[in-house]
């Protein structure tokens, strides 16, 4: 992993009018923005060649701060917009930033179908276990028993494991990291960017102002320590006994396989339909 100096990050930020940002004190979203920029800088992508697309929510406010081709779209729909962008201009590196509610509740249908298509998009899903922007309603990843403003007596709903979900739906690159492991996050995002096919990266985040406060999880530094202690590397997680696994979650790259990519398959189809030299073009 290459260390990207702080001043390099500023080259990728929009300086006119866009700061201060909307995120609360102690929010992890800025750490994810930093790691995303570092991964782009490490690969050396030109800003003009990158697009960032988001839906609605705290995490989805990210595109306004980053100096790429950026679209802040509709709640849950970022992947469908990104699919249109990628298919119209396959040379663009298309990054989707989304949250747990945006990606897996309102946008769940688009998520599984983008996985199935194996289209070359990189999804960075910032999971804070809650709807932060609307003030703390429970999401599909709110832990069982946790408090939310719409689960005031504790969450009776079951939660999604987004990595298992996306693996099941056919994503060819699936990884999980946390806001505490910022350096690991940079290398995982970079690996996702470099993967040819659909990449899903779940970043576990601290939301001290909404989720933390509702569930008495302490200050932002305390929540960062919780992230450090509850997410263990995959190889260590596999060695834990069942009791230990109850309190721990695996992190790392769960799946990284090669498979035909959708925009390339489509380009091949187009090529196969073009009249060969000497043949007349018989269109319907």
């Amino acid at each position: 992993m290459k260390k990207i100096p702080q001043k390099e990050i500023h080259k990728y930020l929009r300086h006119n009018k866009k700061f201060p940002h909307v995120w609360c004190p102690g929010c992890s979203d800025g750490i994810v923005l930093g790691a995303t920029i570092r991964a782009i800088a490490e690969i050396g992508w030109e800003k003009d060649d990158c697009a960032m697309v988001s839906g609605i929510g705290c995490s989805s406010r990210m595109p306004v701060y980053i100096d790429l081709n950026t679209a802040h779209t509709l709640h849950g729909r970022a992947l469908a917009y990104a699919t249109g962008i990628k298919m119209a201009k396959p040379a663009l590196n298309v990054i989707v930033v989304t949250g747990d509610g945006d990606a897996s509740a309102i946008g769940g249908n688009h998520l599984i179908h983008a996985c199935r298509r194996n289209i070359n998009l990189t999804v960075i899903c910032i999971n804070n276990h809650i709807y932060g922007m609307t003030g703390g309603q429970y999401s599909p990843t709110t832990p069982h028993g946790a408090i939310a403003t719409t689960m005031p007596f504790g969450n009776i709903d079951n939660e999604f494991d987004l990595c298992k979900l996306t693996i099941g739906a056919g994503a060819t690159f699936v990884a999980r990291t946390t806001a505490y492991h910022a350096i690991e996050m940079q290398s995982i995002i970079k690996a996702g960017f470099e993967h040819k096919g659909f990449s899903f990266i779940e970043v576990m985040c601290a939301c001290p102002v909404i989720f933390g406060k509702l569930n008495k999880l302490g200050s932002a530094p305390e929540m960062m320590k919780q992230l450090r202690d509850s997410y263990v590397p995959l190889n260590l997680y596999d060695k834990l006994n069942d009791d230990e696994k109850n309190d721990q979650h695996p992190r790392g790259i769960f799946r990284n396989v090669e498979a035909p990519e959708y925009s390339e398959k489509y380009a091949e189809l187009v090529k196969s339909l073009q009249p060969k030299q000497g043949e007349s073009d018989e269109q319907a």
Binding site: R14, N16, K17, K18, K47, D48, D49, A51, V53, P63, V64, D67, L68, N69, T70, A71, H72, T73, L74, R77, A80, Y81, A82, T83, G84, I85, M87, A88, K89, A91, L92, N109, H110, H113, Y266, L269, V270, L273, Q274, Q283, A284
Partner: protein, 381 residues
């Protein structure tokens, strides 16, 4: 395909042919009766032309991919029917808000809800105007023949590019599925409006123009002009704002680019005798019955006039005033429960002694016949 002699063509096919002739090179859709032939045509035709066809997981994904492709520089479109428009409503509003060209075709069927999927209807006329939440002005065109399906789809693509908005083409189950001989114009004679690419240095580029009359260049993703779009209220660079002056400028631009260009947008047809004291106001498939009724009446020495909007939105207020205010009787036949007549009454006022406004509705999935129009005229006259 031969262009120098008439060919038998279906309405939905004419829409699709118009779209590709206008330069549509991206289509995303989801199967729905009675519009599916458009989607099927595109799945055959676009890959051959090097364009993109996608069948998405639903209508919401379809309109989203269409807007995304437009952001990346494609001329893009989708086709659906009423239930699909209901699902696309938020996306249509987003395209209007970020001022990104795209075309949506609604082949109308009976509603509400699943309604009469295979039967014609004109019950989405007000939906075409109001489907999105918020004040989002609309452009919608409604052909009445297979040839017009072709022509107005081309016009819709052009207007979408020119006005940087989502333009709707209305059709219906009858128009979409019927076949007529049509003589398509030579491709060189088809007028196509292309997107103007910016040539100024990127730091001077402003994504939204100050003047609604001025057609500003529009950059696409990957062109070297890194811009931001958002459904939030935004300033002229596209960045979110809550400053009242900037919000006002944005809302006025959305409204004025339509309201200050009515002459360019509105198209009507006047058929029959302008001196007639009795007039019919009808659109789309029902206007054909009205034309037949007028011909029958003329054969019996009776004068009738038809005013037919080809542009449904913005509504042809001025034409209604010009051609209909001096009539003794105005009949509005339509395949809904009064979606055109509410506009006529808005413009001319309610029925009074000197001017009666009569309605003829049918929402049973059947067409209004010329005889029914003549009977209705006799009954109210």
């Amino acid at each position: 395909m031969e262009r120098n002699k008439p060919v038998l063509m279906q309405g939905n096919e004419a829409v699709a042919r118009g779209a590709v002739d206008a330069g549509i090179n991206f289509f995303a859709g989801y199967p729905i009766t009675p519009s599916t032939e458009i989607t099927e045509f595109m799945s055959r035709e676009l890959p051959r032309r090097g364009g993109v066809f996608l069948q998405m997981e639903d209508e919401i994904a379809s309109i989203s991919a269409v807007i995304g492709a437009s952001l990346a520089g494609s001329k893009s479109m989708t086709a659906t029917s009423g239930p699909g428009i209901s699902l696309m409503a938020e996306g249509i509003g987003y395209a209007k808000m970020i001022e990104q060209p795209c075309v949506v075709v609604n082949v109308m069927r009976g509603g509400p809800s699943t309604g009469l999927p295979t039967q014609p209807s004109q019950a989405d006329i007000q939906q075409a105007r109001w489907c999105s939440h918020g004040d989002a002005p609309a452009i919608a065109l409604y052909p009445h023949s297979v040839l017009e399906c072709y022509e107005l789809t081309i016009r819709a693509v052009n207007l979408a590019e020119k006005y940087r908005t989502c333009v709707m083409v209305l059709s219906d189950a009858m128009l979409g599925h019927m076949r007529e001989p049509v003589l398509l114009p030579d491709l060189e004679k088809v007028k196509i409006i292309e997107r103007i690419k910016p040539t100024i240095p990127p730091e001077w580029y402003k994504h939204y123009p100050d003047n609604p009359k001025y057609r500003a260049p529009l950059a696409s993703f990957g062109d070297g002009y890194r811009f931001h779009v958002t459904g939030l209220a935004h300033d002229d660079h596209g960045f979110p704002t809550t400053r009242p002056d900037e919000v006002a400028a944005m809302m006025n631009r959305l409204k004025n680019k339509i309201s200050q260009n009515i002459d360019d947008l509105v198209q009507i047809e006047v058929f029959g005798d302008e001196s007639a004291r009795v007039a019919i106001f009808a659109a789309g498939i029902t206007a054909r019955a009205a034309k037949a009724a007028i011909e029958i009446a003329h054969d019996h020495g009776k004068k009738l006039l038809l005013v037919r909007p080809l542009t449904i939105w913005p509504f042809p207020d001025e034409a209604v005033r010009t051609y209909l205010s001096d009539k003794k009787l105005i009949l509005i036949p339509e395949l809904n429960q009064g979606q055109l007549s509410i506009e006529i009454k808005r413009i001319l006022g309610k029925s009074k002694k000197t001017r009666k406004i009569a309605e003829l509705y049918k929402v049973t999935g059947e067409l209004i016949t010329p005889e029914e129009i003549l009977t209705a005229l006799k009954e109210v006259n």
